[in-house]
């Protein structure tokens, strides 16, 4: 596994992001700064449209900021071309999606092997890596099963194995439990916590679920494109009373920047 870099794995400095729909300007992130140290497990919460997915996309180099700089694993993403970014992603990032996004025509083994096809590893080495990844997620006995033959939780674990098979520095998870029942969600969260604790993976997880967020070291709340410290109790109270808990943030944490 990688040795952890001394500097923060994710550094955002005065990042803003705007989209244009026709001629309409849509600000998503506004002058946002953020540091995520190596080995941290961060949950990002916030209402729909608050910029959570945009933040993940920017950290992954899938999208470019309108202003500001993003440094991930010591690399200023703004300095990389599209092609360099793609290669960089394959070497440093692992993705976990809400809908798993496994290739339906491939077995669990082949799905996990996909990122390794981009490396120079031999077939035998690839197999060894895939088996290790599947063993970590507890699916070594399902490696020849197709996604349709797996439960939702198992599919997500295969997706996690695919995310970690290249031994990335940073795992980006976009609502990884959003499509799972409670039991499967707990299994996936346990697995993420294990990857963080045992393998030192830095994890940024977007979630709407306060219980999932509680598993993180730090919870960030995005509201109208700005970070705020989240008051998880308030969010949970909001949920239990039927309101949109994520909209109720703590009045104690009004800061726009949580850097450092």
């Amino acid at each position: 596994m990688h040795s952890l870099p001394a500097q923060p794995v994710v550094q955002l400095r005065h990042v803003s992001k705007e989209y244009y729909r026709d001629k309409l300007r849509i600000p998503v992130l506004a002058d946002t700064s953020l540091d995520i140290p190596a080995g941290e497990f961060v949950a990002v919460m916030g209402p729909s449209g608050s910029g959570k997915s945009t933040l993940l996309n920017l950290c992954a180099g899938l999208d470019r900021p309108t202003t500001g700089t993003i440094v991930v694993a010591g690399q200023d993403l703004g300095e990389l071309s599209e092609s360099q970014l793609t290669r960089w992603r394959s070497e440093h990032l692992g993705f976990i999606f809400q809908l798993y996004n496994l290739m339906p025509v491939l077995t669990a083994f082949e799905n996990v092997e996909l990122p390794l096809l981009l490396t120079n590893l031999s077939r035998r080495e690839r197999a060894r890596h895939v088996e290790t990844a599947l063993r970590i997620v507890g699916l070594e006995d399902r490696m020849h099963h197709y996604p349709r033959q797996l439960s939702g939780g198992q599919e997500q674990r295969v997706a996690i194995a695919r995310a970690i098979v290249t031994d990335p520095v940073l795992l980006l998870a976009d609502e990884p439990t959003g499509n799972l029942d409670a039991v499967a969600a707990v299994e996936v969260l346990d697995l993420l916590a294990q990857l963080n604790a045992e393998f030192g993976k830095t994890i940024v997880m977007v979630t709407h679920d306060p219980r999932a967020a509680r598993r993180a070291h730090r919870i960030l709340h995005l509201e109208k494109g700005r970070f705020e410290e989240a008051d998880i109790e308030a969010i949970e109270r909001g949920r239990s009373s039927g309101g949109d808990g994520e909209r109720r943030r703590s009045p104690r944490a009004p800061s726009a920047e949580i850097a450092g």
Partner: protein
């Protein structure tokens, strides 16, 4: 190669749709290969005939204009000519035949000196030469029709108002490149029947086949023949057998252009069909493409994967089509096609390879647009897409 299993699984993803695409490519390439093979086959025949050092002499106006029989002796007397014989197409029907097989009136005394690639036992040649109504048939047609030495064959004239009553005196064999389904008979017998009916064709012949003594002299002898008859009542034109085969093909019209244009139209239609299937398939996989790009697949890798998939489908169709036409022409008698004069036909290997190459080209062309679109897909938009 490490992406091949993934490609094959994607091809097998929509079995029925891809099977239909493959079949449409297969059927179309079957026809295109068949048409191209006809051209290549004619060309190959011409090339083979070049080895036999022969010239074919026709009236300068072409095959439809006849020449007096006397030109044969005059040609034979020219320097550099080893042997010469008349050859006239009879085109008669045998029993219930709907179409004639190849029957030629010729000179049995010169025939084997001109067509040196064929073999006829000396006693059979002698028997043929001595029997004015005798004929010689190829071993393949003899076997097909059950003809033996001494059998009587009656050919009913379709071009000429006379019937031939012939006796099989010989059965010839020849090389693979030869035509084993011809029938040769005495020109003198044919001419006698024509004269009895005061036919205009009496004493006239269609072509003269000339065997040249030395290959280097082929052009000289051809020039000599042209010059010898240039100022006569019957101006003649001598050409190599290869050129003659070619001109014979062109008599049907500009076959080559026709075939090429037809092939072009078929290929264009094929590209459209295959591109549509490929685009449809990719539309259903936008998220998957986005995921591949998100986990590090480069644009060129995506491009290669989509093009590879399109080429695999097209190549499979090509193998079905080209393989079928190759097998069909190898094992099925071409005369069942009912094309006059087409007694033998096969698909040369270069035509088969051209067909397969065309399949790859169709795959490439059909995959370009979907591949470029997939390669340029925005990951963010692709992941957002609900299919």
């Amino acid at each position: 190669m490490k992406f091949l299993p993934y490609l094959l699984k994607n091809v097998a993803r929509h079995k029925l749709r891809n099977l239909f695409t493959m079949l449409s490519i297969g059927v179309s390439l079957f026809l295109v290969t068949l048409l191209y093979a006809y051209l290549d086959f004619q060309e190959e025949l011409g090339k083979q005939s070049a080895d036999y050092r022969r010239l074919v002499v026709t009236h300068v106006e072409g095959l439809t204009a006849l020449m007096p029989l006397a030109v044969v002796d005059r040609i034979r007397a020219l320097p550099g000519v080893k042997a010469a014989m008349p050859l006239s197409w009879f085109g008669g029907l045998y029993q219930d035949d709907k179409l004639p097989f190849a029957q030629f009136a010729t000179d049995p005394m010169q025939c084997m000196d001109v067509w040196t690639e064929y073999r006829l036992p000396p006693e059979q040649l002698l028997a043929w030469q001595q029997d004015r109504t005798g004929c010689v048939v190829g071993n393949v047609i003899a076997e097909k029709r059950g003809w033996k030495l001494g059998d009587r064959i009656v050919l009913k004239g379709t071009i000429y108002d006379c019937n031939l009553e012939l006796t099989v005196r010989g059965i010839y064999t020849g090389p693979d490149s030869g035509d084993p389904e011809m029938l040769w008979f005495h020109y003198s017998y044919f001419d006698e029947l024509l004269k009895a009916r005061r036919a205009r064709a009496a004493g006239r012949i269609g072509t003269v086949f000339v065997k040249v003594a030395d290959e280097a002299n082929l052009a000289d002898v051809a020039r000599r023949i042209d010059e010898r008859f240039a100022s006569s009542d019957t101006p003649l034109r001598a050409m190599t057998e290869q050129a003659f085969v070619q001109s014979f093909t062109e008599m049907v019209g500009n076959v080559q252009a026709f075939i090429q244009n037809t092939a072009l139209a078929v290929v264009f239609a094929l590209v459209c069909v295959a591109a549509n299937a490929m685009a449809m398939s990719l539309r259903e996989r936008v998220r998957e493409v986005a995921v591949l790009k998100a986990i590090g697949f480069q644009r060129r890798t995506i491009l290669g994967l989509v093009l590879g998939e399109a080429m695999l489908i097209a190549l499979a169709g090509g193998i079905i089509g080209v393989g079928s036409v190759k097998l069909l022409t190898t094992f099925v008698d071409p005369s069942v096609a009912g094309i006059p004069g087409l007694t033998r036909f096969y698909v040369p290997w270069n035509s088969a390879f051209t067909g397969l190459l065309l399949a790859v080209g169709v795959g490439l062309a059909s995959g370009v647009i979907p591949a470029v679109r997939a390669a340029n897909l925005s990951v963010v938009d692709g992941l957002r897409r609900v299919v």
